[in-house]
């Protein structure tokens, strides 16, 4: 029987298929019609996007108007617009604050902000489709507990719950609600005209007299920011595009993606659906307070000890529900800290660590506990030193250091975010949970106002904060210790940056107090040291003596010219003995144009009393003989600074400034060039500079600035005015190019800095009235620094272009530090303290 029925079925099916094949066009037509009907049905009943126009706690509304209108006229029109009903609420209105801002050249906005209120008044709009709006209306009308009143021919419903009253009205499929009847009525006045065309962000403007109502989302964002300290991050993909503030339930929610709202007809309850990964702050499902582990307790006590951050008290004030924890950047340094150091030779560091810590495995794949501070060539930030344990891990040529045990899965997340940089990444353990409640307003003032740039992101059950310490220019810069290498003896004078001619890498050369010359690589490796027995009188220069693109180091001591190769070997023919009746002061290696021979111009003074001691200039060739064509030149006074060689109109010109203020230009045969000398009879002791226009600038000790050209013509003679006697004047050439300069005056503790046109640049108050050494660095826009070194106090500070301290506190150093710009925006500071050479970097 079954078989028979199956056969019949298959026969029928076969016949139908056969028929369909014969009438295939009709079949396809019917199918298309059915699909079209289904599509139309879906389109008609499609879920609508919400209209979403919240008004922040401070912003009532904003009116946009043409700038052609007078303010009084606008206020009249506002009153007209708001109507007489508004005057009954004048008390509330009187608290409002009027703000005016120009939006476009032809338009301005007047915004009304209420005074700060503990219970923010918010306006909501929901849009429904046809059917749902009918259901909602039916549900509203059936609610016996609702009070109804009439306003502008519309019914306003009042729903009272235990906390407050909720007012709403439904018109043209848009449900508008607020706890504030005032806001609701104001919105009703402007929204009822054309509700259908209401845009999500900007309400359509009224045509009447060019005045319209807009909702200022930015102002709301700012209000939210002020309330809860919303972290800003310039590079973050997370942008606050929408806000939903629920104040009465003591929750603050912020969403950045599109939200879908639904209304339950039994009780007006709002539910938010959103992707968790898109969520910035989430309190819809508050996590319960977790058990505090011993480790957490230890960290919390450290927080309290160091920063006065009493977490227990905070918890009590936050109703025991904690979701997330945000720390201000200066508090974020500890207790959770992970440092990532890119390694040039990871195997070396790994083996070195293994040597220092034989109990740990060199190739561990998890964080291994070691005792600090036995880390090779790595000095951790000072604050971390207090932590008893350090966890380390070497993976993919990156040394990770953590002061707590970091699970492997967390490390992956951190690596993704921080491999490209060496900044501090903060990992927030989910064991610490905080919530945003109404207390956050106060908290914001205390803790969140100085977040200088942060991105918060979620991953599974954890929250990460990526602190950008350079995010805000007003915040102090931060230099982390890259290297701190002990030196056997104290560094004499300064550290010279030199170039490795093989790799073009930067190296550091210096002389110690026992005249030994030291060369150190960029990574902190001592390459050699050499006993020299003489102190360098001037800079140590790099020269290509053999003209083979290999560089040697040359300097002048009292009576000799020294030259050493890159491996510290003395060059043949060196040291060159200088004339006996001569005190060398400056060395200027030079090479005439179109000549290969390296020459050394040595400037110094002739022994004698102060009145008659003159200066002398010798030119030596690399074989130790006096250079042909240049007879040793006597000048009437010792040189104030090292002479310079420039090329002018195809000719080599040597420029020299004497201590008596005379300025000379010599040709390559040592002859005084026409137009020179320029005699100023000023006492000079600082360097001169040649700007891009080939004009020469120098400054006397008394503050007279001289500008002359290469024809010896005096272009400018200007006295920098100072009301205080004993002012120390500085002309500060830019250290990179040397073409620009600043003028600085130290008057006791007051440091006045002016630009080259003597226009005030900034004034800074020093911590002491000791004479300061200054150096001006210009590494580009927003990266101009004035390095201030106090030789007596052995401290240095960095001032930015506004004269503010770029570093939070002065750095200890025994030598004038060296500032170096690296690739990108990275800046290194080389200094010496406690018999060690230290390299600090902002690590960008």
């Amino acid at each position: 029987m079954d078989k028979l029925s199956k056969r019949l079925d298959s026969d029928i099916l076969r016949k139908i298929i056969l028929k369909a094949k014969q009438h295939q066009y009709y079949v396809f037509g019917c199918a298309a019609l059915l699909l079209g009907l289904f599509g139309y049905f879906m389109w008609f009943y499609q879920p609508l996007k919400p209209i979403w126009k919240p008004i922040g706690p401070n912003l009532l509304f904003a009116l946009r108007y043409d700038t052609g209108l007078k303010d009084s006229a606008i206020i009249d029109q506002i009153e007209q617009l708001l109507g007489e009903d508004f005057s009954s609420k004048w008390e509330d209105f009187g608290k409002a604050v009027l703000k005016k801002e120009d939006v476009k050249p032809q338009e301005s906005v007047v915004s009304w902000h209420t005074a700060y209120s503990e219970s923010p008044q918010v306006l909501y709009n929901w849009r429904f489709n046809e059917k749902t709006s009918r259901d909602v209306l039916l549900a509203i009308q059936n609610q016996s507990s609702l009070k109804i009143r009439q306003y502008r021919e519309e019914k306003i419903y009042q729903y009272s719950n235990a906390i407050s009253d909720f007012h709403f009205y439904l018109i043209n499929r848009v449900l508008t609600a607020s706890t504030s009847p005032l806001l609701l009525e104001a919105s009703l006045r402007v929204l009822t005209n054309d509700v259908e065309n209401v845009q999500p962000k900007v309400v359509k403007q009224l045509k009447k007299d060019g005045i319209g109502l807009i909702i200022n989302l930015n102002a709301i964002a700012e209000a939210f920011d002020a309330l809860v300290g919303f972290p800003k991050h310039a590079n973050s993909p997370v942008r606050l595009s929408a806000l939903n503030l629920v104040a009465n339930s003591k929750k603050i929610q912020a969403f950045y993606s599109e939200n879908t709202f639904a209304v339950n007809d039994k009780s007006i309850r709002q539910t938010a659906f959103t992707k968790k990964s898109d969520l910035l702050y989430n309190t819809t499902q508050p996590l319960e307070k977790a058990q505090v582990s011993k480790e957490t307790k230890q960290r919390l006590s450290l927080l309290k000890e160091r920063f006065g951050f009493d977490v227990d008290n905070l918890r009590q004030g936050l109703s025991n529900t904690f979701t997330h924890f945000i720390l201000r950047s200066e508090y974020v340094l500890q207790p959770y800290q992970v440092l990532a150091f890119p390694l040039k030779d990871s195997s070396m560091v790994s083996s070195e660590l293994a040597r220092l810590h034989p109990n740990v495995l060199p190739n561990a794949k998890v964080f291994t506990l070691i005792k600090q501070p036995a880390l090779p060539n790595l000095i951790l930030p000072m604050k971390l030193d207090a932590f008893p344990n350090i966890y380390y891990l070497i993976q993919d040529s990156v040394l990770w250091l953590s002061n707590f045990s970091l699970p492997q899965q967390k490390l992956k997340a951190l690596k993704a975010a921080s491999l490209s940089t060496k900044g501090i990444k903060v990992y927030i353990n989910h064991a610490l949970k905080f919530s945003f409640t109404d207390k956050l307003g106060t908290l914001g003032e205390r803790f969140f106002d100085k977040i200088d740039g942060a991105a918060l992101y979620f991953q599974r059950d954890s929250v990460f904060i990526d602190i950008d310490l350079q995010g805000d220019k007003s915040v102090f810069g931060r230099l982390d210790t890259l290297l701190a290498i002990p030196t056997k003896r104290q560094i004499k004078k300064q550290v010279f940056p030199v170039k490795n001619h093989y790799t073009n890498a930067l190296e550091f050369l210096w002389q110690d107090e026992k005249t030994r010359l030291h060369l150190m690589s960029d990574s902190g490796e001592f390459l050699w040291e050499k006993a020299v027995w003489y102190f360098a009188k001037d800079h140590i220069h790099q020269v290509d003596i053999y003209n083979n693109e290999k560089l040697q180091y040359a300097f002048v001591s009292d009576g000799r010219i020294h030259a050493y190769d890159r491996l510290g070997r003395t060059l043949n023919g060196f040291p060159i003995g200088l004339s006996t009746y001569f005190e060398a002061q400056f060395l200027r290696p030079l090479r005439w144009k179109n000549e290969k021979e390296q020459r050394f111009l040595v400037a110094g003074s002739l022994p004698g009393n102060a009145k008659n001691s003159g200066g002398k200039l010798y030119l030596y060739n690399r074989y130790g003989g006096l250079s042909r064509g240049w007879a040793p030149r006597n000048v009437e006074a010792p040189l104030a600074c090292a002479p310079k060689l420039i090329s002018h109109e195809g000719k080599d010109v040597i420029l020299a400034l004497l201590k008596n203020g005379s300025f000379y230009a010599f040709d390559k045969n040592g002859r005084v060039m026409p137009g020179f000398p320029l005699i100023t009879n000023l006492i000079c002791s600082s360097a001169f500079l040649v700007d891009r226009a080939r004009n020469i600038h120098f400054m006397s000790e008394g503050g007279t600035i001289i500008e002359l050209d290469l024809q010896g013509r005096l272009l400018k003679r200007e006295q920098v005015r100072s009301r205080i006697t004993g002012t120390i004047f500085h002309l500060l050439p830019e250290q990179q190019s040397g073409a620009d300069f600043l003028v600085a005056m130290q008057q006791g503790r007051r440091l006045v800095v002016k630009d080259r046109n003597l226009k005030a640049y900034f004034t800074h108050t020093l911590t002491s009235d000791n004479p300061q050494q200054l150096a001006y660095y210009d590494f580009g826009e927003d990266k101009k620094f004035l390095l201030v070194f106090d030789e007596r106090d052995n401290t240095c500070r960095l001032l930015n272009e506004k004269g503010k301290d770029w570093l939070a506190k002065p750095l200890a150093t025994q030598i004038m530090p060296l500032l170096i710009a690296r690739n990108g925006s990275r800046i290194d500071l080389v200094l010496s303290k406690d018999n060690s050479i230290t390299v600090l970097s902002n690590g960008e």
Partner: protein
């Protein structure tokens, strides 16, 4: 003796002839005043030209009544300037302090004026040899007397 004079001290004769030809008169001038012993500034007036030359008169020979000798001193100052390679050497040769602004002014003045003097007198008119002048030899004696005797 008198017959031999033109042959023996021809330079002096040329100087004398030049003075006569251009009717040169000399006066002291204080346009450039270096505070150094023997330094004077002389204004040389020709028929239609005038020159101001700072010069060293170390023997105090200058006398407005002795124009030939004065011309010799002017030409000697020109030679000093021309022989000095630069300012520093000129200062050293004359014993000046190079940082003295007036010395620099004198040097710069000579730099402009010496070519004019040379162009005015030509190459034939030359000062008596420095060595002879320093030693006070016969040419110098003639130079000192030639304006008085005629």
């Amino acid at each position: 003796m008198e017959n031999n004079t033109p042959k023996k001290y021809s330079k002096v004769e040329v100087l004398k002839a030049t003075v006569d030809k251009h009717q040169l008169t000399f006066k002291l001038n204080d346009a450039i005043n270096i505070n150094a012993e023997g330094f004077i500034t002389v204004k040389m007036q020709a028929a239609d030209h005038q020159f101001i030359i700072p010069l060293m008169d170390e023997f105090g020979d200058f006398d407005v009544q002795k124009p030939t000798l004065a011309l010799h001193l002017v030409l000697l100052a020109c030679e000093d300037f021309e022989e000095a390679e630069d300012y520093l050497i000129w200062c050293k040769a004359l014993g000046f302090n190079a940082s003295n602004e007036t010395c620099r002014a004198a040097w710069f003045h000579l730099r402009d004026e010496v070519p004019n003097v040379r162009a005015f007198f030509g190459d034939q008119v030359q000062a008596v040899d420095v060595f002879n002048y320093q030693m006070g030899a016969g040419a110098t004696q003639l130079l000192r007397q030639i304006d008085a005797t005629q």
